[in-house]
Amino acid sequence: MTETNPLTKKDFKSDQEVRWCPGCGDYAILNAVQAVCARMGIAREDTVFVSGIGCSSRFPYYMSTFGFHTIHGRAPAIATGIKTANPELSVWIVTGDGDGLSIGGNHLAHILRRNVDVNILLFNNQIYGLTKGQYSPTSPVGRRTKTSPMGSIDRPFNPISFALGCNATFVARTYDSNLKHMERTFEAAARHKGASFVEIYQNCVIFNDGCFEDVVDKKVRDDRMIDLVPGEPMIYGKQREKGIKVEGFETNVTGADDASVWDPTLSSSAPAFTMSMMDENPGHPNPVGVFRAVSAPSYDEVSASQVAEAITESGAGTIRDLVYAGETWEVS
């Protein structure tokens, strides 16, 4: 870490012209990430952004850090190699609903289960943008697209439930129209040791415009969205008059005074799972914020410590030790 002056957002901007469609939600996400990188103060050279294929996956070119634009769906696998080989690096994965949950679903599941210490940003726009408008594994049933002219018949993934099902240690959701919320969420993800998963509701102005409008639009969001803040009561509404009360595996909309306090640090992921599907109940808001934040050893850390332990116990090996081993005999 050679930087001595405090870093600014500008330090993380690359010299490349950003080529997303005008009005794309990705611009705001890029901004928020650059702000958080500056705030975290991790040197550019110690930071690696890894992506797969898709609109979001152009992200590494716009960062002045190290970057690896890989192949479709495989960013988590490449990032696992990077982080395991050098646990000192700050590693970020940028993926989308198609890249992360369709073609790369297997790798996403496994990086979460292993708890590799990386930050995963899943840009969810419920559509395939780069291939110009086919339904994705998060498109709701009935969504009409080029490949579902009569409406999608696929039941979608809930990315938060997916991550919780993989026993992820940090799971959160944010949305592209709230810079502050994004920055707060990304920072919490970056500070978490282990795999951090953040779903971002991201608008695709060209192929799926307004896909989250009924939740994130400023006019409705106070009543349709609830922010899960660790250690605080679950309150929402224009006047912050409504609350969520948890009873067993059920949630009920109540007055603010009866709201339960949200605790994402419980060892069981069951409450978080209940929260992740809250909006399927009529009259319930759509949850964003931190669903889960528990601590567990990270894969890269344990892998490195096994190597260190083997060296401490038996001494560092040499080629001679390898070759001149087992039962040998001399021929003269």
Binding site: R44, E45, Y61, F68, T70, T84, N106, H110, S303, G326
Partner: protein, 622 residues
């Protein structure tokens, strides 16, 4: 201890130059252990040797059936040998299925040792045999020795605390003892091995030792044989030796290769037959700084290795043909991002799942061409178990010096085969230290990640090195800057650059040496595991006065310099391959003016030397 008559001491001791034994039994009978122990002991007494395990893909096929037969063939000798032998001199058959599956391979006049305890009506039925082959005269022409091993083991372990089942599991050591007696081998190495293996269950070690000693004593007491044999130590080149299996040597070579480059080895792998044991061996060498990652699938395995190479480790991945098929896209990424990467394919029978436990050389064209776009990757092939060590180091050298993925081909025959390995002089191993970009101050010229050195290799700049931040990826790169470029001329320039770089590897590889006359009517050309068989065949030809020149290729892409001139000196070039003629096809394209004769065999097992001798004779007589 009183002096007693050594068992069998009054029987004639006959010297033999080389012996081939095949142990065959049910996959639960422990034939692989028996074979391996016989091999280790033969190595310890100084024989040259070669082995060929042959086991079913099923872990435990129904007991006593033909698909459940597991075999282990070894050749041990007092002369230099190159193959596990064509036809066994001795067949040990633990049950009727083992007998009927293997009898056709036994040399005429060879010895069958049959465990009659497992030749009951029920056993015959399981093996789908109607009449007992031990009694119907079908074994005429062989020397059949019948031993009720089940009964003998029960007697030997009378009074033991072990269960009947556990007692019966000592059968293979009784058999081993019998064979040790027949070939005058010492029991101590196996006794020591058993005590170590069953350190926590001493009673099992002792029971197996008792069974083995009983088998050894039985050879004499029961007068089953007319004499004993001795295979004296071979005259091997001076040096320190150890017995090595192909996959083990390959793992040691990969670890050494990384160290010779001054890098950490990172292996990303997904278990697959017959490559899995490379991952197992490497996982056990953590004190050498080796990091192993057992991935969720073949794709993740290679991708993690590429990620590790991006950070300055030497990324490696080990698999077999079906795994290579899955890794194709990531291999193309490796070509584009120009990072070192070693991809090992331990070939097995294909297509699809094919014959997982059998050998084949049918992935050569996949290695050379199995990717989208113009994606040249250098390809090497291992020719014997101990050669895997040197080849793995060579693959690492090319990967690091030329910043490129490298494919290293081995196969099931080499992977599980064993031979004595004359250990190399460590100081004499090649060194090829990797060079990394140094940190750059602000104001210094910026890194050009796609600039090129004298080998056309690009710089390796690692995360963590200030001032060298850059982006790589699978989109076409602009020459020098490495920025995304859709420019038509740049694309062609980059394609040619990548091709030029890989072809330039030629400058660093030697022209292979001809064995035998340097010109003549016929050259036998091989690659990979046909090496030993071809040499053996050529030596046999030479003994009968037929010229037998041979040439073996380690580097399959790029091909070494000087081949055209060599081919010019022969009227015909015979290419035996365990595929339908893949190398022949490549050579016909590269050197169209020569007479290549393809000699294919695709049966999931190696060539026999006699098959090649016959083919050579046939060609030369025409």
């Amino acid at each position: 201890m009183t002096t007693t008559r050594e068992p069998g001491s009054d029987l004639p001791l006959q010297k033999q130059e080389r012996v081939v034994i095949r142990f065959a039994g049910d996959s639960g009978d422990g034939m692989q252990i028996t074979g391996n122990q016989f091999t280790s002991t033969s190595a310890a007494v100084g024989n040259d040797l070669a082995t060929l395990p042959d086991f079913p893909a099923e872990i435990r096929a129904p007991a006593g059936t033909r698909p459940g037969v597991s075999g282990f063939q070894l050749c041990f000798s007092s002369i230099d040998i190159h193959t596990p032998g064509d036809n066994p001199d001795v067949l040990v058959a633990m049950n009727p299925a083992a007998l009927v599956v293997n009898i056709a391979d036994l040399k005429i006049g060879g010895v069958v040792i049959a465990n009659t305890g497992n030749f009951t009506a029920k056993d015959l039925k399981k093996a789908r045999v109607e009449v007992n082959p031990l009694e119907d005269g079908s074994l005429e022409g062989y020397r059949v020795i019948k031993v009720d091993i089940n009964k003998r083991v029960t007697e030997a372990l009378d009074g033991s605390t072990l269960s009947t089942k556990e007692v019966q599991r000592c059968k293979n050591f009784y058999t081993l003892g019998l064979m040790y007696w027949l070939y005058s081998r010492p029991l101590e190495p196996t006794e020591e091995w058993l005590r170590k293996k069953f350190a926590k269950r001493g009673e099992l070690a002792e029971a197996n030792i008792t069974a083995m000693r009983a088998g050894f004593a039985a050879g004499d007491i029961h007068e089953m044989f007319q004499g004993r044999f001795e295979v004296p130590a071979a005259e091997l080149a001076p040096g320190t030796y150890r017995k090595i299996m192909g996959n083990q040597a390959l793992a040691l070579g990969l670890i050494s290769g990384a160290e010779l480059a001054g890098l950490k080895a990172f292996l990303g792998s997904y278990p697959i037959t017959p490559a899995s044991s490379i991952l197992e061996v490497m996982a056990s060498f953590k004190r050498h700084g080796v990091v192993t990652f057992q991935a969720e699938d073949e794709i993740a395995a290679i991708c993690a290795a590429i990620g590790a190479s991006f950070t300055g480790s030497l990324g490696m991945t080990t698999t077999s043909g079906p795994g290579v098929a899955l890794k194709g896209e990531a291999m193309g990424l490796g070509v584009c991002v120009e990072l070192p990467l070693v991809i090992v394919n331990v070939q097995r029978g294909g297509p699809s799942t094919g014959l997982p436990t059998k050998t084949e050389q049918a992935d050569l064209l996949q290695a050379l061409f199995g990717r989208n776009g113009e994606a040249p990757i250098p390809v090497l092939a291992v020719c014997s178990p101990s050669d895997a060590f040197d080849c793995a180091i060579e693959a690492c050298r090319i990967a690091v010096e030329y910043m490129t993925p490298v494919i290293l081909l081995s196969d099931g025959y080499i992977a599980n085969g064993a031979e004595p390995w004359r250990l190399p002089d460590i100081d004499g191993l090649p060194r090829f230290e990797a060079r990394f970009e140094k940190p750059r101050e602000k104001g210094n010229s910026r890194l050009m990640p796609y600039s090129r050195d004298e080998r056309s290799s690009r710089p390796w700049a690692l995360p963590g090195t200030a001032g060298t931040e850059h982006r790589v990826g699978g989109l076409e790169k602009e020459h020098l800057s490495g920025e995304i470029s859709y420019d038509a001329e740049n694309h062609e320039f980059m394609i040619l650059k990548r091709q030029e770089k890989v072809m330039g590897i030629r400058a660093s590889i030697p022209t292979p040496e001809i064995r035998g006359p340097r010109s003549g009517d016929l050259l036998i050309l091989g690659w990979g595991s046909t090496y030993g068989t071809i040499i053996d065949a050529a030596e046999r030809c030479a003994r009968t006065g037929t010229e037998g020149s041979t040439l073996h290729l380690r580097h399959l892409w790029p091909l070494p310099e000087g081949l055209d001139e060599i081919f010019d000196r022969f009227k015909a070039i015979l290419i035996p391959e365990i595929n339908l003629g893949q190398l022949a096809r490549v050579l016909r394209g590269e050197y169209p003016h020569h007479n290549f004769i393809s000699f294919p065999k695709v049966q999931g097992r190696p060539f026999l030397s006699t098959e090649i001798v016959e083919k050579v004779t046939d060609i030369l007589e025409r």
